[in-house]
Symmetry: D2
Subunit: 366 residues, 4 copies
């Protein structure tokens, strides 16, 4: 399964750059196009893009000429790093044109026929694509990954919900500045400061987990039935979102039971062998002062959620801290893993792939 041609929509922004970085040397996907805003169209990526990540821009991307964000470049898959409002306009055009769209944008996450996916958590939700194609008449599809803060929280809640049943969750985040893109948070707003507010974020953290932990039910998802209340804060950290969570569970387990359920959580079969799947979805730390963003965010190449400080909560039963890398697991890396799952499960439009690149071998269609 090699040389599946892919494009990145909105490739010059911070999340777009992370896609470009993670796709370097990918064993399956080959970037054949990068799209950008009007001002960057026609320029080489190296000229159009102010690279803000650590480490250099990958060589493969430097000379790709940035194109408009519209179907045209022949590819099986489009990774979307678009802002929500642009995504709402443009992603359907790509899906209609036959592309599989793996989107980090929030625009379609809560649509009933669009999978909101964390492969280790709800891989079966990809079947919503069948409904989606029927309803919308698309040859391609849209699949989404959740909000960066919801991601880490849900990875920790998944084994708890399966084992004990989640009843109520109070989640307070301390979020990294990279979550706001580039230029994003002004330095005058965050040096020696905290911003106790992130527009639209609390609503996402309170709703997306219920879909992610819901049950596939015919042609839709029956949402999980528990309440989440969120406080979201911005702090002076480069990468890595912390969530302080207090959780009420149906069966009132003890701390050790919870730690065991977290540590024993395993990646489900169809996901276990994918290129971007981390060795372990959750690592449990037992030191009193972990996880910490700078020291733990790269666990599992940024794809593992790190949980620590599991302890009793006098209000809700259990409390803990969970950390996940917001621009890898919570954004580009999450979309990439979704794409790998969808490719492996045969959801990419192989006919199109065959048409456009005769050299592509599409084993997943066999």
């Amino acid at each position: 399964m090699k040389h599946i041609p892919v494009i990145v929509l909105g490739a010059t922004g911070a999340v777009g750059q992370r896609f470009v970085q993670l796709l370097e040397n990918h064993p399956w996907f080959e970037v054949v196009g990068l799209t950008g805003s009007d001002r960057s169209i026609g320029q080489r990526y190296t000229d159009a893009c102010r690279w803000v990540l650590s480490g250099p821009m990958p060589d493969y991307a430097r000379d790709i000429v940035v194109t408009p964000t519209e179907p045209g470049v022949e590819a099986a898959l489009a990774f979307s790093a678009l802002p929500a409002d642009t995504a709402r306009q443009v992603e359907p055009l790509f899906a209609a044109a036959g592309y599989g769209v793996c989107s980090n944008a929030s625009a379609f996450r809560m649509e009933p026929d669009v999978p909101l996916l964390i492969p280790e958590v709800n891989p079966d939700h990809i079947r919503l694509i069948e409904t989606q194609r029927v309803r919308r008449g698309w040859q391609g599809f849209i699949a989404t990954n959740p909000n960066c803060t919801a991601t880490g929280l849900v990875m920790a809640l998944k084994p708890l919900h399966d084992t004990f049943g989640v009843k109520r969750v109070l989640a307070v985040s301390l979020q990294a500045i990279s979550g706001a893109g580039y230029p994003g948070v002004a330095s005058l707003d965050i040096v020696d400061n905290v911003i106790p507010y992130i527009g639209g974020e609390e609503d996402k953290v309170e709703t997306e987990p219920l879909k992610l932990l819901g049950q596939l039910n015919g042609d839709g998802v029956r949402f999980a039935e528990f309440a989440i209340s969120a406080h979201t804060n911005r702090v002076a950290v480069i990468d890595g979102h912390i969530v302080c969570a207090s959780v009420e569970l149906e069966t009132n387990p003890g701390v050790e039971d919870v730690e065991r359920a977290l540590a024993d959580f395993r990646t489900p079969d169809p996901v276990a062998g994918l290129p971007s799947t981390p060795e372990r979805p959750i690592v449990v730390r037992r030191e009193p002062d972990r996880p910490q963003p700078r020291r733990d965010r790269d666990e599992g190449h940024g794809m593992t959620a790190v949980v620590g400080r599991v302890r009793p909560c006098s209000l809700l039963g259990i409390k803990f801290v969970v950390l996940s890398h917001n621009t890898i697991r919570g954004a580009a890396g999450g979309s990439l893993l979704n794409a790998e799952l969808l490719a492996a499960q045969g959801y990419l439009n192989s006919v199109r792939v065959e048409l456009i690149r005769s050299t592509v071998t599409v084993e997943y269609c066999a």
Copy 2:
């Protein structure tokens, strides 16, 4: 009421320095002694102390020779910035020797006969001193101010408890580095990082508010009966602790009711005219992104709690953010206001004051 002689115990540390700073030009109190650790005894304060606050060391303090932390210097009042273990040994000696000890240390906060005070919240608790003197045979006394994070939280909870009745509180803090003293938090631990743990802090935040909001009852305090669960975090902020609070109230008030109760909270009479009392104990901000540590910590010269983001909590009913200055309101400024209340209410040992400084006029004894 002038020239009440005071000393500062542990004057060379970070909180001790804040006492020295706040006592400059105080209308009532005059610093006549500064105590320090073995290594600093006998040196001038300017030589013994590595001044870490912004702004210069006050001139009045420079030439005071640091003495051992034991009774001897004649003064009516001792401000204690001692670490808890030293405080436990030494503060009783000062109280026995006739000093009023206004302590920021945690050692005696939860003793049944020791007032734990926020003057705007529970000024009547000072009457515990009478029991304390009888039980312990002290001519002086020990009075304490609460933990820095508990302070801001309780200032916000006070009007809510009075008006609506508090049932449950979930509190997540984002605390400034100055709360750990000097040198305190290593820069390698906090730049581009969060430490989701502060030793002993969560226990204090979960227990001290219950005493502060309790009822004076004969010779003791009947604790408030509600549950608090706390997560405490350290962030890269110089001064100012944020608490994200979700609160369940007996009567389920709406957001506007809560905002009004907070905004209408007034300083009780005996406290209103004291030198360090802020114009308003609570300021309510209605912008979506306030309070912020750097921009709001100096409200009311660092003595006002700033509350913002009052909004519904789907779990507990109401949520909000409260900010208070941790080394002013939450430490030295809190102790100072306690001392002013105690002086105004006649608790300082005036006989002693008369003996030691014939020039002192002790109006509060008339």
Copy 3:
């Protein structure tokens, strides 16, 4: 000398806000107008302006309706916080209309007939205004304050140039983020980072001091004749620019001579009594690790330059560190002090003042 009506051009930006803040309760100047960009015109200042400074927006400014940046509001003085390109277009219109323009913009700083002023350094340069008025046919004038980094450097060089003669200067800055305005420096660019480049800055630091330390000569300024080489860097500091300077002096003085010259530097007479003049223009610190931005920037209410670490330089003779507050002394505060000097010296257009506000008493014209 009261109630001189003034306006602030570009009042909603970061430097504009600092003008608004410093003008609160000013003994002479009363703000009667605030101008802003198209999008803010017609709104109340409190609605048009995202206030980014610490402490609240002054009450006096909240209800002032923002007007276009063009002459019209009747005032004697216009403080300009405009960007350089706008300033180049607009400031001459105000000067022609009779306003005294005290500008923080770089647009006209190096014009031969425009004073570039630090009142303690070259107060006599205000006489360029007479040439300016003749040449340009203006009733008003433009006077400028220097670049924020040049400001602190020149304050330190002034007594050295007068006493010993400056021959060569190598200056390396560590500049605060507030110098870039708001939103200015992206947090992703500066947290855990240094940006060793500030566009256009090195040129200003290398040229402006030569005009500031030049001699008024007929109708122009003969520039000082020495060479400056600058490296400018951005660091994660809120306010306060550090300059590490190595200086070659004509007479090869020793460290103590240099320290004495710096410490003995006194404000010249016409400047000494102005409202914003600090008690001392230069404070010399002798601790090994001062000055520091956070601890020393507020010296003299942000108007004093703090010099430390005076020591031998094996290359150029003497080296030292100088700190100055970039948005007070180096921007709005510098312009304000210029305005005070110009008002006191009778440069404000009193006729105009009398016309527009009959209540104004213009003592400085007597």
Copy 4:
């Protein structure tokens, strides 16, 4: 060349941890011992050491029991991360006992018979070891790497000195907090601040380069003859030291000549194939705002010096900015590369090696 047994002296500190990290999976060296302070002796490394680096403690090190810092553990090589005063006492004991000591400490750097080494710069200086052994009667030796700030500076100066001749250097550093070890710099000293002073640092930066760029001459080094003046500053950066350098060169080359000399600099032969040698010793960046610590410090796995902003200096001719990773290239990585060179050149005491580990194959003795 495998399984050369090595120990790390002072393994629990910040630099010691970096040695432990870099030695994981080293192709030649195998860690057989870790020494620490009294309080850690007898504990497993995982219990004795508060791990402060990003990423986890290497598994291989966890169960090694910390021993006293004295000869005894059988090994060919001792990496020293000791503080200077301890190093002065202890390193000679190890050298006398036959160990090759590769030290990051400053204690012996300037001794005439001790090589101060950057392998790409002065690999021939290792021959001082022969003199050293004769003079001191040691079977082992001490070899040192320079101060972290001197390291990057010298890497940039080397091709300039070879090509054009260096006459004078003015160097101003912006140094990362990790350079001060752990706990090192207090967060209250560096958040929103700069410390324009690092004890002892300027002297090292002004002297060590002259030895590094000196000529081996019989049994000593004839120092390079040019003057360096340094200002050293601490800034809120985790890793990566910036040096702003102005340099006078004998032949007054232009900017392009200098850039070419830097970019063309090649690793000398005996060094080119070593495991820790970076692909290129110097990378020249041509963007206006590079190098930056966070974005460039990991170039060449932290072993490459990144130079940018080469431009004319009106004072000294040429100025530029150089960045190097202070705890890799400037400390543990530098020592490790020294050790690899010394091993490859046959300086390790193979007899000893054979005695202590019969399984060791010591090809470099053949």
